[in-house]
């Protein structure tokens, strides 16, 4: 953005300076939002357990790094192991199915044991935001209160920078992060089996319900596994976001969330 533009207040003379070019249709529908889109040109990050780029459902990974401990500090290193748990590939395959031409980037923060996971998630998210990825899939959360403030700051940085964070909601009565933050898009599951069916929730903190039931996801050795869980609902919204952003580059997270809302299955724009 132009640095001369007002940042903290808007004078009457400056109103014309912030005219925002837009060609919003009278009614935002799915055809306008992502008709003909493939995700091309959009960078999607899978912040998870690594991604197996050779799996046919994943069909290639454009970059892969791992966050590791170097003493007490974390360090970003090239990822040569791929997916060590299976979870990241499952998420990546779902994104690929919806947005076949997006660029996938893997940032591995899970899988080297449970200890220190919160620190790895923080460092991985910081790295993903620095890279300027358009969308980050976070099918994970932490219950540790001491990470909440740093995660919150990172989520806000991402929001203002234009990186969309999509996090799976915790469907348990526990306080966990980052999905509860309003600067991320939080996703729970509905019971349907249509990947193009998603609902806007009028009663957040869960903002959208997407497909999370009975999904054949990528699994080790090129096979698939039939899985259910909010972990798999989030990548549906990630794939849809990649489609919208490939057709309308430059939408802010606020605008993207509005488009997802207007084209949800329960808001009348799902045609």
């Amino acid at each position: 953005m132009n640095e001369d533009l007002p940042a903290w207040s808007l004078t009457a003379e400056a109103v014309d300076d912030i005219a925002i070019a837009s060609n919003w249709p009278e009614r935002v529908d799915r055809q306008w939002a992502f008709g003909g889109a493939t995700g091309k040109g959009v960078d999607v990050c899978i912040l998870d357990s690594g991604v197996d780029g050779d799996h046919p459902l994943v069909n290639g990974v454009d970059s892969a790094v791992a966050v590791v401990f170097d003493g007490d500090e974390t360090r970003i290193v090239p990822d040569e192991e791929g997916d060590v748990v299976g979870h990241g590939s499952a998420c990546a395959g779902i994104v690929r199915a919806l947005a076949p031409e997006c660029r996938l980037h893997s940032v591995r923060v899970l899988g080297s044991g449970n200890t220190g996971t919160g620190d790895l998630i923080l460092a991985g998210l910081e790295y993903a935001i620095e890279q300027g990825y358009n969308v980050v899939n976070m099918s994970l959360s932490t219950t540790k209160r001491r990470f909440a403030e740093s995660l919150h700051e990172l989520a806000d940085d991402a929001y203002f920078q234009g990186t969309v964070l999509v996090a799976s909601a915790h469907n348990m009565p526990v306080e966990s992060y980052p999905w509860r933050f309003s600067s991320v898009i939080s996703v729970g599951s509905h019971e349907g089996t249509d990947s193009w069916e998603w609902y806007a929730n009028p009663a957040p903190p869960v903002e959208f319900f997407a497909r999370g039931v009975d999904i054949d996801v990528a699994w080790f050795g090129g096979s698939t596994l039939c899985c259910t869980g909010n972990s798999f609902a989030a990548p549906h919204i990630v794939g849809l976001s990649a489609l919208v952003l490939s057709k309308h580059p430059g939408l802010t997270p606020f605008q993207l969330k509005s488009v997802l809302y207007l084209t949800a299955s329960n808001t009348g724009g799902s045609t």
Partner: protein, 217 residues
């Protein structure tokens, strides 16, 4: 652990239910979970933070009796998925996966067809994982089933928390060189003494001496 906590835990040791009664609580949770879902087996894993491993703490059904105490690395398998992501997961058609089948057979001698798993969370801490294996086939999946399992998971998490607190407290009491353990040993001696009136009178006078010392400081 602070000094104050150690004293509390040492004193509490004398009043704790036994390891067996905590185990019975966890066993009853997996028994009921198995019955509700008409499942072949149900199990609870405890996360051992010292070794970063998942340990079988309670098993109902297939593997009952053999698996208790068995350990797996904390981020492997479906239980590992659930632990590190903090998200409940349902998996079907597991037997199609040769890698999973081989690992499961090696570890437990039993390869489930389907599996439901939820993390056991108490406050900020993820304590372990609750699994239900091979629920009845005619029960199609519904989100309600996971919600039900989560209710059990809350119970199991409280049970695990009690078990861990009790173990920590016992460790304090049993450590011969832990100076706080003297409190627990005194409690145990009083418990065994036939003439506890004398012992209690002695402790009362010790209390007043300590009180006096505290005032003078």
């Amino acid at each position: 652990m602070t000094k104050g906590n150690s004293y509390h835990e040492a004193v509490a040791t004398g009043m704790l239910p036994s390891e067996e009664s905590h185990r019975a609580l966890l066993q009853s949770i997996v028994d009921v979970a198995r019955a509700i879902f008409g499942a072949k087996a149900s199990s609870i894993f405890l996360l051992d933070t010292a070794t970063d491993e998942l340990v079988f703490e309670a098993v109902s059904g297939q593997g009952e009796g053999d698996l208790i105490g068995m350990r797996i690395p904390s981020s492997t398998g479906i239980a590992g998925w659930v632990l590190v992501t903090g998200q409940p997961i349902v998996v079907d058609d597991l037997q199609q996966d040769p890698r999973f089948a081989r690992q499961a057979a090696e570890r437990t001698g039993y390869v489930p067809r389907a599996l439901m798993a939820v993390p056991l969370v108490n406050g900020e801490n993820t304590l372990g994982v609750l699994q239900v294996l091979d629920r009845t086939k005619d029960r199609a999946y519904s989100i309600g089933q996971i919600d039900l399992l989560i209710l059990f998971a809350n119970q199991a998490a409280i049970g695990l928390d009690l078990l861990q607190t009790a173990r920590r407290a016992r460790a304090v009491a049993e450590q011969g060189d832990g100076r706080e353990a003297v409190v627990a040993r005194l409690a145990a001696l009083l418990e065994r003494s036939e003439d506890d009136a004398t012992g209690l009178r002695f402790l009362e006078s010790l209390e007043s001496v300590l009180g006096q010392l505290a005032q003078e400081r």
